[in-house]
């Protein structure tokens, strides 16, 4: 339960009645948001530790540190923890803090349920992490846990399945809470079309969550019964089909990608106008583009499976659909550019992270379009090219947006400013090391290095070393981020109620730090 300790350890510095029970029983959206954020940061460090293990093993050819089986567990748990333990809870934490403040509500709709949905997370995380220590070790079938490989594993796989169940339940409860809050708790006059884009993207994300998380729960349940109760959903011997698992998994998995990126779009769409001192260009198209991305994301799943041997009709269908989804995504980038155009820009840390987000996300988008083209995808599928692609989308996409959001709202949360200079260092170091780590992986993939291998041919040696050095640097930089945040909380300068000149949303009308109960009387919206 180190994770939970961590949450307590750093959560105290809110100037409110302390005592551990306050955090255990709290129903306040700000307390819960804080806990979510600290939890996700703790998991980010755990997942990061696993990543360091992976990069250390891959530093040189040959087996040095991790035996192949343990290496596979590391990659598997790294993926699961980063996706379900770090990125998603971080966004839920942001939503918990910001959504009520941005729509002028006193709190979330279901305060008690909010508390439950948080406290499920440490339990699931404990299950995941402790599976390393059970006989047979942690799950080693990749974060996508394709059967029949995942039917082979030991108890660790069952623990992983339960953890996924719990994480899914938590996400669904969180999503229901957010939807209800946004739809029912808005201040008078806050029509849907006046909502900040961050709220809009979260509303759509929450709908996607209730749409696909239950499907994931169904899939892992089938896997569980296949493993333990003799069903044969995915067992060819009993008339099942292993490929069916991949279909159901990616029916969840592709929208999941958008669950992790849409709130990031929302964050960036808040930050860019603020620091450009200019309204967001094409607000309504942004809302509609988000909605259409969400809908289309449900019909493109099989582009993760172009090599399973589906008929050409299937390949072409999913190729066309996938390419079309690139269009609304691209339009968003144009919108942000147009927002910056002829603005009056300043470049504080949140803005830097947002521009970094756009820059790197576009690179990830390009490799995404290239992966959509079936013949090329068949070459790069399951290679480091795909690894590079989705880290560009998830690290420089989702994670950079989260960093931006934290710097952006930190003054509001704790009433103190972060150190601008250190923040800039954090940005530039992250940017440098991120690219050092992942840009080279495109070339590794093209040259033929498969993913999920603990050892590789000599021709890949130099770029793997570069990538590992970048990886260690990126990891250390994030400890630096922890220092910046703690320094801000402890001894940052007092922040103004509206520290950013261009801020227009409701939370800036509140004092800094935000009072325990945000809007006891609903604000009036012009």
């Amino acid at each position: 339960m180190a994770v939970v300790q961590d949450v307590h350890g750093h959560g105290h510095d809110d100037h409110h009645p302390t005592g551990i029970m306050r955090w255990v029983c709290t129903t306040n959206h700000k307390d819960i948001g804080t806990m979510y954020l600290w939890f996700s940061f703790a998991m980010f460090l755990v997942g990061g530790f696993l990543a360091m293990g992976i990069r250390a093993e891959l530093f040189m050819p040959g087996i040095q540190i991790l035996e192949p089986e343990l290496f596979n567990s590391f990659t598997t748990l790294h993926g699961l923890i980063m996706v379900f333990g770090a990125i998603m809870p971080a966004f839920v934490g942001l939503a918990n803090w910001q959504v009520p403040m941005m729509i002028g509500a006193p709190d979330m709709a279901f305060a008690r349920m909010n508390n439950w949905s948080f406290w499920i997370l440490p339990v699931a995380a404990t299950l995941l992490v402790s599976s390393f220590f059970v006989p047979g070790g942690a799950a080693a079938g990749g974060w996508t846990f394709y059967p029949p490989l995942s039917t082979q594993g030991g108890m660790g796989v069952d623990m992983m399945i339960f953890a996924v169940h719990l994480l899914g339940a938590s996400s669904i409860m969180g999503a229901i809470n957010i939807i209800t809050t946004i739809l029912n708790m808005r201040a008078p006059g806050m029509t849907l079309m006046k909502m900040p884009l961050f709220v809009w993207t979260w509303l759509i994300t929450a709908y996607l969550l209730v749409l696909v998380m239950p499907v994931l729960a169904g899939t892992v349940t089938m896997l569980l019964t296949d493993r333990n109760f003799g069903t044969s959903f995915f067992n060819a011997a009993g008339g099942g089909d292993p490929v069916l698992f991949q279909h159901i998994f990616w029916f969840f998995g592709h929208p999941e990608v958008y669950i992790m990126i849409l709130p990031a779009f929302g964050v960036v769409s808040e930050i860019i106008p603020t620091f450009s001192r200019k309204p967001l260009f094409g607000y309504s198209s942004m809302v509609y583009a988000t909605a259409s991305i969400a809908i289309l994301s449900c019909v493109v799943w099989a582009h993760h499976m172009f090599t399973v041997g589906m008929p050409s009709v299937g390949q072409l269908f999913f190729m066309y659909a996938t390419m079309l989804i690139a269009v609304p995504t691209g339009v968003k980038v144009f919108n942000w550019t147009a927002t910056m155009w002829r603005g009056s820009m300043t470049f504080e840390v949140p803005m830097l992270f947002s521009i970094g987000f756009i820059f790197l996300f576009v690179i990830g988008g390009f490799s995404g379009v290239i992966c959509a083209i079936v013949p090329i995808d068949i070459q790069v599928q399951e290679t480091y090219y795909v690894i590079a692609h989705f880290h560009y989308v998830l690290v420089s996409g989702a994670l950079f947006a989260i960093f931006g959001a934290v710097y952006y709202w930190l003054p509001k949360w704790c009433g103190r400013m972060y150190d601008e200079k250190l923040g800039k260092w954090h940005f530039w170091l992250s940017m440098f090391f991120f690219n050092l780590t992942f840009f080279v992986q495109h070339f590794l993939g093209l040259a033929g290095m498969p993913r999920r291998v603990p050892d590789y041919a000599l021709q890949f040696a130099d770029f793997n070393m570069v990538s590992s050095i970048g990886g260690f640097g990126f990891g250390l930089t994030q400890l630096f981020f922890l220092y910046i945040v703690i320094k801000c909380i402890r001894s940052g300068e007092k922040a103004a109620d509206k520290p950013w000149e261009g801020g227009t949303t409701l939370e800036w009308t509140l004092p800094s730090p935000a009072p325990y109960h945000s809007f006891e009387t609903p604000p009036t919206i012009k």
């Binding site: 939807i179 069916l244 009709v313």
Partner: protein, 176 residues
Amino acid sequence: MMYNVAKINIAMLRKLLIFSVIMFAFGYALVPFYEKFCEVAGINNLLKPDVADKDVKVDTTRLVMIQLDSNVRGLPWQFKALQSNIKIHPGESIEVMYEISNNSDQETSGQAIPSYSPRVLEKYLKKFECFCFTKQVLKPGETRQMPVKFVIDPQIPADITTMTISYTFFSLGAVN
């Protein structure tokens, strides 16, 4: 007023929970849906009973080659087709023989599942008799021959000239 909001909220909670449960069920519904879809699309009609449509015309203008493949997974058996490949006219009714023998000194059971390549073949292959999805029990040292009767629909696209019919025997130990 607060009471009212709480009521609306609960109503919404109920709706969304029901929706989640429906989506959970939908995950399961994808299983039969997938099978049905594959059957309609002719991709993977594994469970479909053999079709007996005897009045197809034989297309004597062309010959196609059928390769007969066999695999055994997790059983101490030998499994092979008596001829490795045959050349036939589409529409012709064909019978081929497969043979299994148990090389071990224990009674074991297994069951075969079919698979075809290229995948469009599944749409044009009509089987009247087959041993797939039937439990086979072999005594130590026993050998058994099993026929497969089928016809290739003459509608099969002209550019398909070589195809593979494959059977894989799996051990039934884990299944039953």
